[in-house]
């Protein structure tokens, strides 16, 4: 009887899991994060204990055998929030053992294209949020930004903002997952942050938002009004934390009618 392998949700956990599963000859039924696990009558369950050393040597193996790009793809897929990513990564790495450095050239093989697509989606959302993230200044001078993303992109964008806003303390709050990246002008730490902790804004903040909103309305050329194109670039799901957009789209609609 084959088995479902359960890991603790960490990157090291998944890597330990993959290392152990790939060593066995039989195909797993599934590889899942324990929170996503539902018991089945037809599958044995195996909980894999995370071993840091094992995970590291597995990552090194992948890097040497298949290359840096492969490693980066695996990491981005791990950050994605799609069901079945455990098995997708398993299939990909298994093919990689056969193809070695050529793995990422097999663009039309589903085992590769699925990973590439997913990795691209995660990367794209991270890039998008580098632009759409909005910091608000809190009463104590800390900068706070909230995001509500499809994938867990904090590890991808936090180092970027540590370079961009290096001279302020800031928090980027992944509201969907109750996690946050904290930066104290020296290092980044990712930890739990509950949704209830809604911070107070500084008085200058409102004024700054006001200026930005007005600028945003004035910079559009009325003769080229095209809200559909605008929405194409900023999907609705990102509106909620965007200082400028919602209001002006509503107003734009009114003036068009």
């Amino acid at each position: 009887m084959s088995a479902t392998y359960i890991y603790d949700g960490t990157y090291e956990g998944l890597m330990t899991c993959l290392a152990e599963v790939l060593k066995k000859q039989e195909e797993p039924d599934d590889i899942v994060f324990f929170q996503d696990f539902t018991p089945s009558l037809f599958s044995r369950e195996v909980t894999v204990e995370t071993k840091k050393r094992k995970a590291e040597s597995f990552l090194l193996f992948v890097k040497n055998k298949m290359g840096k790009d492969t490693l980066r793809n695996i990491m981005k897929c791990f950050l994605s929030d799609v069901p079945g990513k455990g098995m997708m990564i398993y299939d990909y790495v298994k093919l990689g053992i056969e193809k070695g450095k050529n793995l990422d050239l097999f663009l039309s093989d589903e085992r590769v294209s699925k990973i590439h697509t997913l990795s691209m989606r995660v990367g794209r959302e991270a890039h998008r949020m580098k632009g759409l993230l909005r910091f608000k200044e809190l009463f104590d001078g800390v900068y706070y930004a909230r995001l509500y993303t499809d994938h867990f992109i904090l590890p991808l964008i936090a180092p970027f903002f540590a370079g961009r806003l290096a001279d302020r303390c800031w928090i980027i709050h992944d509201y969907k997952r109750s996690r946050a990246a904290f930066y104290n002008k020296r290092a980044i730490r990712i930890a739990q942050l509950e949704r209830e902790n809604v911070p107070l804004l500084s008085s200058e903040e409102i004024e700054c938002q006001m200026l930005w909103k007005r600028y945003f309305q004035k910079i559009a050329v009325p003769g080229r009004y095209n809200p559909r194109l605008q929405r194409q670039f900023i999907p609705k799901k990102y509106w909620r934390d965007l200082v400028e957009v919602e209001e002006s789209i509503v107003q734009g609609k009114r003036s068009a009618e």
Binding site: N102, S113, A166, I219, Y225, N226, Q230, Q232
Partner: protein, 430 residues
Amino acid sequence: MSLLNKLEILADSAKYDVSCASSGTKRNPKGRLGRNTPGGCCHSWSSDGRCISLLKILMSNICIYDCAYCVNRISNDIPRAIFTPDELAGLTVNFYRKNYIEGLFLSSAVTKSPDFTMELLLQTVRLLRKEYRFGGYVHLKLIPGASWELIKEGGRLADRVSVNIELPTRQSLALLAPQKTPDSILRPMKSVGALIQAIRRERKKTKKAPLFSPAGQSTQLIVGATPESDRQIMMLSESLYDNMNLKRVYYSAYVPVNSGRNLPSVSSPPLLREHRLYQADWLIRFYGFSTDEFLDEKNPNLNTDFDPKTDWALKHMETFPVEINRADYPQLLRIPGIGIRSAGKILTLRKVKALRFEDLKKLRIVLKRAQYFITLSGRYFGDEPQNAEKIQARLRIPVQDKKKDSDQLDFFTRDPNRLADELSAITGEL
């Protein structure tokens, strides 16, 4: 006057400038404010669907000139304002910290004199770079007629500099902007272009050489205010790319803001024409085409029904079909519907296998246009025979969507099938 009022007036006056790119440089001062990444970054999109990457703003809209097409001309009765360098630098830094913008795009009407204006712009950028130690992006407009010393300093402080040509010929310039001369515009562009190249060579030898406009220089041309053909415009662009080492030429569909006897009367901006020019521009810069391949004296204007690459292909059926499994990169790029990304994917997969038709689908290459121009291991897969007229009929936009200039806005906003076309106006990929 309050900061809010000034911002309103001077953003309103700046909105007709097209460029907004924040790409092309890498600055990353440690522990300070700001960093640039070579890819650039869009922060928002305004209700006209244009990307907002930089705080695009005028220092002042108080102008001594009276250019017919310009909203800020001296003879217009509009509210006028001028920032102090302190106000504008502070505003930029505030917006940047909130992650609203990637940097500043600073331009100005010509207030008092070119040198006076240029000095005001420089004071602002100096403050940003030296006081705030701002590492974000700065695109600085050079004021035609300003002294070379000031222009040089501008290039040292900014990531990109630009002078707008606006009108593509001497005659048009004389007609609509009689106080500007082609020489006052082209001379600084030429000197700046030469200096950019010299510094680039220098920096290859030693990284200590000072930066000078590391993201190059750009310019803008107004389309549709004067009678130039697409061919005249593209020839100008091509020579700017070749001879003056320009990074980008922007095209701006003429939006009537003034009335005057020398100005054309148009009911809406020629957006489709602008779009086709961008596509043609892309063909020149990235696809290895030259203007005279798709425009000549007999056909001086771009076809509105097809993108310029498809139009070219239909007139050159003898070069097709192209064999996907053998063609080199430049040949692949000439296939309608296959752009830089698709060509790259084909070359990658070809390293490990011969491509079949199904592979193209799996690579998510759109075959709507490409199918008529390719073979795979000798087999043709098009749903029409290889005949220019039949293919043309197939690819033509359905009649109800084919609208002339006056309805172009509708053409862009209503038909969902056109979205891909619209997006390509931004990315330029064909």
